[in-house]
Amino acid sequence: MKITICGSIAFQDEVLSVKEKLEKLRHEVKVWPSEVKDEKGQLISVQEYYKIRKIAANDEKWVWDRKAEGVLKHFDKVAWSDAILVANYDKNDVKGYIGGNTLMEMGLAFFLKKKIYLLNEIPELSYKEEILGVRPIVLGGDLSKITN
């Protein structure tokens, strides 16, 4: 199955490990790029970029331009896939956190009739009902539950 992993780049290492496991299970997997261009056009790791973005001001144009490019490219990856896997690890004191960007990707996947898998439990967030509304399949951490 063609799978696009969605989630926060804060979990880059975990996501790459999940990608590897899915590939061993014979899935074709896309994630976000591991590097992005900084202000001077030099490649930096997404972890480094994430650190910069976390403290960036609203007028740091290049930072938000990169985010915009990433969001839009990832939409195309969702469209390419048969299913998305939301890598929803604990974040901001929320178990199985899902952020706004990922929620948009889940909405798009739902519209395009893709399967939506959540790696971990559905988070207790103000928008839990919207998450439930796109009918995700909760894996409880077990990737072998992903089936054609």
Binding site: G100, M104, S126, K128
Partner: protein
């Protein structure tokens, strides 16, 4: 222009008012399929999350709204102040804006989205390049 009105169903009455105004400007305007239901049953509220979730799932509300976005040229998000947040846009509105962007529809917001300090995903909303009307529906063209 064919316009689909989105936003919290807390503003169902305002949706019908905006529909009427936009029709007067010559637009073809669709509102969410459950707009009339929210007006006719004042005890129905989006604040009762469990009841609202059941309503949305039982009636496939999210998919119906998404299909309406696909069938129109533009979306208009009625983001009136709610819960003390100016320019409130809920999670459904966020998903609708994302889909409209992917489908290359025009995105109109009645007001500016909330500041990022209050609503973190306002960054994502700005990325979708909405046209902000500052309350003036006549700016839709």
């Amino acid at each position: 222009m064919k316009i689909f009105i989105c936003g919290s169903m807390h503003f169902a009455k305002e949706m019908l008012e905006a529909q009427k105004k936009l029709k007067e400007f010559g637009h073809i305007v669709e509102v969410p399929c459950d707009t009339r239901l929210f007006i006719d049953k004042p005890d129905m509220t989006t604040d009762n999350h469990e009841e609202d979730s059941k309503h949305c799932i039982d009636n496939d509300i999210i998919r119906k709204s998404f299909n309406s976005i696909a069938e129109n040229d533009a979306i208009l998000v009625l983001n009136y102040p709610k819960d003390g947040v100016n320019g409130y846009i809920g999670a459904s509105g966020l998903m609708e804006i994302g889909l409209a962007y992917f489908l290359k529809k025009k995105i109109f917001l009645l007001y500016s989205p909330p500041p990022v300090k209050e609503t973190k995903y306002s960054h994502e909303i700005f990325i979708m390049q909405p046209v902000i009307l500052n309350g003036d529906l006549s700016l839709i063209s």
